[in-house]
Symmetry: C2
Subunit: 401 residues, 2 copies
């Protein structure tokens, strides 16, 4: 029996909106290879995106087709709302082979069902749609016309339904618990991997009411000098007094993410961290006060820039991005970014991870919030205290500065 | 200070072998976008492969170039053996933007350094090298000649050095510990996510002597009916008496993986599991006796096929694959597979994950081993008992059948 995370009405609405966009783009057949987009439209959920697979949306057909590896086809039957006959499997000889490519198989299927001479949209710049995949599809479908449909479904995903927001609220509970567990585990002599283990444990276990899932990005835990380098993962080095530790994690529920970042000081924080923390908090507050439907992402960045500039700080990198449903390697949705010039107009139930990190030569600070745009402003998902956190090596009390 | 996992001699050997293959393929400039291959040649290690980045190997230059996002450039300086001037960063406006593509920046750099009219090899069918990436490179480098160099570096990786084997032995210790922790956590009423949390905790914490890392695939934990579907991840459903549970996990150390799968029965196993277990074990044993330098992967499959056929079983999917260094979404190396017709000849220090799973309509069994080819045969990495595991709901003793 299929237990879908959303009711059929919601899947139908998603499909309808997708087809409207296909129509506007002049695409008859959309090949969805992004695992998050596959899940969004069909419910498909498995760690099978390491082999070629796709969902085929045909503009004049009521149901998508799932095409993937033979041993994953049962997963498509169990996790999607598609009829069994719309699940099509390629044999194992196509898997990671020099001789046979899954896209040859898929091209043949598309021809057989009369789609070989249509306008075909592909997710040109999405993970898991390789240069070779396109080349083989083009060879196999010489009469088709190919068109870039990158982000087509992502832009449908940008506004969340109430049910999606509910899932994000559950993810937020997990994020709060995992951050608590992670911060409390930090004291001198504990290794970075020990703290990462505590965070993972809590992220996956979830709460007594609902379990957690794997996030699209592993917990990031740069420490000491490495706090200037945001995407390094943990090592087995023990924390020492004076270390700054950045924890960036996400709670995940039904593949919906709520990321959360905090900076922890082992013992008293250095001058730089002490000086910059209130600036970051003021900048976040300014963005929160500015944000509401009708304001653009670019205006949020402007607000931030003005606020921190008054204190003599500058930041070149983007401040945040649309967030929600995803699979590795990224929980960002690749649509709206909170950055200079982004013209996306905020609407109710857009959701963002605001992570206005500041990095210096040898250290950095990250304090982030995931928020939802409401009808009148914004609402934070998590409740974790918004501050620089101090783990005092004497009392280990985890007091908050 | 850069602390590399291998000495410079080893990196130089890898680079030399890569250049030999470039020469054979007629490639002057190799663009490496696969994170495992980037790590293998340079040491680069960060969760940054969700943005475009690459290592550029120029056949007549002693050092590769790293090109990536500005905020990741410090990571390249800290984790690689490259000189700082060989680390080139693109500004944040290129990140996930409709307006600017990182490959435009990279094409400009390649032209500036005189590589714009050479024969350029690209990893056409690797994760993270999108169709769009190739399109933009071709547009930006109209005088270059592009060639598919998929798996070029992977085939250098197929034979491990002694140091790599040492890292895999450490990964194996973590795999044994994580499997022990996972199996011991299973009893009726415990949720799948609780067991996944225990496994993750141990995988990441590692041992008191060395920490663990994130594996390229999350722990897979199909249960009950879902044991017929290998790539489903955990849910928050509680185990019930009579459930079969498949655990597939990997220990990971310095990004080297040793995967391990076992099947657990909650309470007494059903007839099918009882009947098929000795067949799988006999098949594994037959492969182990056959395997040694000079034998082909295809011959290993033949041995397996003959062995299980004598008991009336058949299996279409491949039995295993070369394994080692990797990043999400796959720990397999995409070179040799243990399957029908694979002509790869075993050599000392090749390493494989042998996972001759059998799936039936509503259940399945997985018992796997990761092994190294020695001069005279093979050597298992892990020591975990090779059997169907029974978790009795009465004594919870985790006795082994």
């Amino acid at each position: 029996m299929v237990l879908l995370p959303f009711d059929m009405m919601e899947y139908q609405q998603r499909l309808t909106k997708t087809k409207e966009r296909m129509e506007n783009l002049g695409v008859d057949v959309l090949l969805i290879t992004d695992p998050a987009n596959m899940n969004y439209l069909s419910g498909y959920d498995a760690w099978s995106f390491y082999v070629h697979q796709m969902l085929v949306i045909i503009i004049d057909e009521p149901q998508p087709l799932w095409i993937g590896r033979y041993q994953d086809a049962n997963g498509a039957r169990v996790t999607t709302w598609l009829y069994d006959e719309n699940v099509i499997a390629y044999p194992d000889q196509y898997v990671q082979s020099d001789l046979h490519h899954p896209m040859d198989f898929i091209a043949t299927i598309l021809k057989q069902i009369g789609q070989g001479n249509r306008r075909i949209g592909v997710e040109m710049d999405h993970y898991y749609f390789t240069a070779k995949a396109l080349e083989r599809l083009k060879q196999g479908l010489p009469d088709a016309e190919f068109q870039d449909a990158s982000l087509l479904v992502n832009y449908v995903r940008i506004i969340k339904s109430d049910q999606e927001i509910e899932y994000m609220k559950k993810a937020a509970k997990i994020a709060d618990l995992a951050m608590t567990k992670g911060v409390e585990s930090i004291y001198p002599g504990v290794r970075e991997c020990d703290t990462a283990a505590e965070i993972y444990y809590q992220m996956v276990k979830g709460t007594p009411e609902f379990g957690g899932e794997y996030p699209a990005i592993v917990p990031l835990l740069p420490t000491g000098d490495r706090t200037s380098i945001p995407h390094l993962t943990w090592t087995d080095r023990p924390f020492v007094d004076g270390d700054a530790v950045i924890i960036e994690l996400a709670g995940c529920y039904k593949r919906y993410h709520v990321p959360l970042a905090r900076t922890v000081s082992v013992g008293q924080p250095n001058d730089q961290l002490q000086q910059v923390t209130p600036v970051v908090l003021e900048g976040i507050q300014a963005i929160f006060e500015k944000a509401k439907p009708g304001v653009t992402c670019g205006e949020l960045e402007e607000t931030w820039r003005r606020t921190i500039k008054a204190h003599g700080y500058e930041k070149e990198a983007r401040l945040g991005y649309s967030v929600g449903l995803n699979y590795p390697p990224d929980w960002g949705e690749h649509t709206a970014s909170i950055r200079r010039g982004d013209s996306t107009v905020l609407q109710t139930n857009m959701t963002f991870h605001l992570i206005p990190a500041l990095w210096f030569n040898t250290d950095g600070i990250e304090i982030s919030e995931t928020f939802r745009v409401t009808d009148t402003g914004i609402e934070r998902f998590t409740t974790y205290p918004q501050n620089l956190l101090i783990r005092d090596s004497l009392d280990l009390g985890g007091q908050i500065s």
